[in-house]
């Protein structure tokens, strides 16, 4: 072993990926995936939120699919937000407390790589969780849709519907089952989480306490839902030139907080609207824009932080 051999530097990507996969395993070993069992229970329970109240073949299981979808998405949304905030909030304080941060930064690891790796690790965790939930939801949805289609076909045939009518009935039901737009909606949930995770990362570089970061990030997330309203208010009221203070406040809110309401397209998809790829692309663009900005801002603060 020679003492003068030059060491290979490695690449930014390589280092970031190493930290990302490591963060993923670290978080995964915190027994995060057990919640999937709870999700399975919720989604199976939602199957039973179906009161047969109307007559006719169209009414068979009419509300079941919507119930399954809205329950699944509700859980997915809640879980991804909580995970994004809490998992990100605990990463930096944990490393500092355990002094593992020193050993990593004592290696030739640029601080940006470290932050980016941590964020990517959290995002990977959220992505995998959502993917698993998506699979579960799609399977249950597919099974229920087939059951409903058969039921409807039977009733329709008994009622003497024409084959065309039966075909269109089946098509309508199938459109309410699993489809590409639904997968797009799951992706929208992920994109929203990535914004909130990168925001939590920024806040955690300021604060040294997991609790503080969690509380502030949750608050920002909640207020962020009103960002669209604040923005509309500012843009509309601006013309009349009244209310200086409320204008100033609404402007501040509009500029500082992300517009989380854009991701409410999920509701429309649950109700059966199609989501064009272009829209998904635009949402992805926004999410990347935010994630990049917040990561760079985190690096700005973190770069000369002392330990």
């Amino acid at each position: 072993m020679s003492a003068t051999q030059p060491t290979p530097r490695g690449s930014h990507c390589g280092r970031t990926l190493v930290i990302a996969t490591h963060t993923f395993t670290q978080l995964a070993r915190m027994k995060v995936f057990y919640f999937l069992a709870i999700f399975a229970v919720i989604i199976i329970a939602s199957n039973f939120l179906d009161w047969q109240q109307l007559q006719g073949p169209e009414a068979a299981g009419a509300n079941a699919l919507a119930s399954i979808k809205s329950s699944s998405f509700g859980t997915m949304h809640l879980f991804s937000v909580v995970l994004s905030i809490v998992a990100t909030a605990l990463l930096l304080p944990k490393d500092v407390e355990d002094r593992t941060l020193y050993t990593i930064l004592a290696k030739p690891v640029p601080r940006l790589d470290y932050l980016a790796g941590k964020l990517l690790g959290v995002l990977l965790l959220v992505f995998v969780s959502l993917a698993l939930m998506d699979v579960l939801m799609t399977v249950v949805l597919q099974i229920r849709t087939s059951m409903i289609m058969e039921q409807q076909t039977e009733l329709a045939q008994a009622a003497g519907y024409t084959p065309d009518a039966i075909a269109s009935l089946r098509a309508e039901t199938m459109a309410n089952g699993p489809n590409a737009s639904l997968q797009g909606a799951v992706l929208a949930v992920f994109l929203r989480s990535s914004i909130i995770a990168s925001l939590a990362l920024l806040i955690s570089t300021f604060s040294t306490s997991t609790l503080f970061t969690t509380v502030i990030s949750s608050l920002v997330y909640f207020i962020g839902h009103f960002q669209a309203d604040a923005r509309d208010f500012y843009l509309r009221i601006g013309q009349a030139g009244q209310g200086g203070f409320s204008r100033a406040v609404s402007l501040l809110v509009s500029l500082v907080l992300p517009d989380f309401q854009l991701f409410n397209v999920i509701d429309a998809v649950i109700e059966g609207q199609a989501m064009p790829m272009l829209i998904l692309g635009k949402l992805a663009l926004i999410a990347i824009y935010y994630a990049l900005f917040f990561t760079l801002a985190s690096w700005f603060i973190f770069s000369d932080k002392e330990f």
Binding site: W51, A62, N63, A66, G74, Y161, S168, R231, V265
Partner: protein, 326 residues
């Protein structure tokens, strides 16, 4: 660089970043609202009514989830006959999920049928009061369906349900203008059939409604003829009968009996069909030439005056005075 300076720089950067993306976000938001991918803003009132936790979830973006649970609340209201609560809840539900057909259908059904029917038989209130409530709920159900169609103009089922409500002989007395009802029903069935997703019933139902509109006999006849010609699946007894009476209206000198035998194949079937139609007073179908046809057939079939259907008392047309008597 100390932390304060850094915070100032960061805040400025945040504001600048915000200013840069603001137009893009506003534009995207607008685009999504137009494409009906984003729901319109929820009114503050609606948020009040839903309550805090639900508001949080709604703003958080799962309106459909809140609607699912409100639906349970509405069902309980239905089971306990709390009609005003039910109406309020359904209005909330459709605010949250305006494109889910199920909620519109169920809501209007509860209002126009269950609530109204409840007041038909509930003997606690005085008759005038019950009648008023019966009427009001039918009108609420009707308004609900119309709002449904405004929100979902392409939905064939909602249009069909509207037509069904407006031609229901038990509900028509709640409306002022019967003629207008039938005309509106025909319009609704026309739009429903035009979506191309219906079973064929809607096309026929359009005729059934149109035939009852005074002044539209010519149009109805043309429709009846085209439906008849379209195939045997359309030749329901009602349709064939309507074809007959409309032809009699167009041509007063038509030999109704002969034509009836032509359409119904045998004189006995013709007679029974004509008698059935004659006695069908509740539905308000036109009866042009039916009595003449009946007389002629009675002569040829040798049915005596005592057994004639023309001398039997007719079932009375629907009258709400009778229903709310006691």
């Amino acid at each position: 660089m100390n932390i304060w300076l850094k915070s100032v720089i960061l805040s400025l950067a945040l504001l600048a970043f915000g200013a840069a993306r603001l137009p893009y976000e506003a534009g995207l938001s607008h685009e999504l609202r137009n494409a009906r991918l984003l729901p319109p803003h929820l009114e503050i009132n609606t948020l009040d009514k839903i309550g805090q936790t639900s508001s949080a979830i709604t703003l958080g973006g799962l309106r459909t989830l809140v609607a699912t649970f409100l639906n349970l609340r509405a069902y309980t209201a239905f089971a306990e006959h709390r009609w005003p609560d039910l109406a309020k809840t359904f209005n909330l539900i459709v605010d949250l999920a305006p494109h889910t057909r199920y909620y519109w259908e169920t809501g209007s059904w509860h209002l126009a049928y269950n609530a109204a029917g409840y007041y038909l038989h509930d003997s606690d209130l005085p008759p005038l009061r019950r009648r008023e409530l019966w009427r009001s709920y039918i009108l609420q159900g009707h308004a609900f369906l119309e709002r449904a169609i405004r929100n979902n103009p392409d939905d064939w089922k909602l249009l069909s349900s509207l037509g069904f409500l407006l031609t229901d002989s038990n509900k028509i007395p709640a409306f002022h203008d019967t003629n207008a009802c039938y005309a509106a029903a025909a319009e609704a069935y026309l739009k429903s059939a035009a979506t191309g997703r219906t079973s064929g019933f809607e096309a026929r139902a359009r005729l059934y409604s149109l035939a009852r509109v005074k002044g539209k006999e010519a149009e109805s006849l043309a429709l009846a003829r085209s439906l008849y010609a379209a195939g045997p699946q359309n030749r329901t007894p009602t349709l064939v009968m309507l074809l007959l009476v409309l032809e009699a209206h167009e041509n007063p000198s038509l030999d109704v009996a002969q034509r009836a035998i032509q359409l119904f194949k045998t004189p006995q079937k013709a007679y029974s069909s004509l008698s059935g139609h004659w006695q069908r007073t509740r539905d308000g179908f036109p009866v042009y030439g039916v009595s003449a046809g009946l007389l002629s057939l009675e002569n040829s079939l040798g049915i005596s005056k005592e057994k004639s259907v023309l001398t039997k008392p007719l079932p009375p047309p629907p009258s709400i005075d009778d229903w709310f008597h006691n």
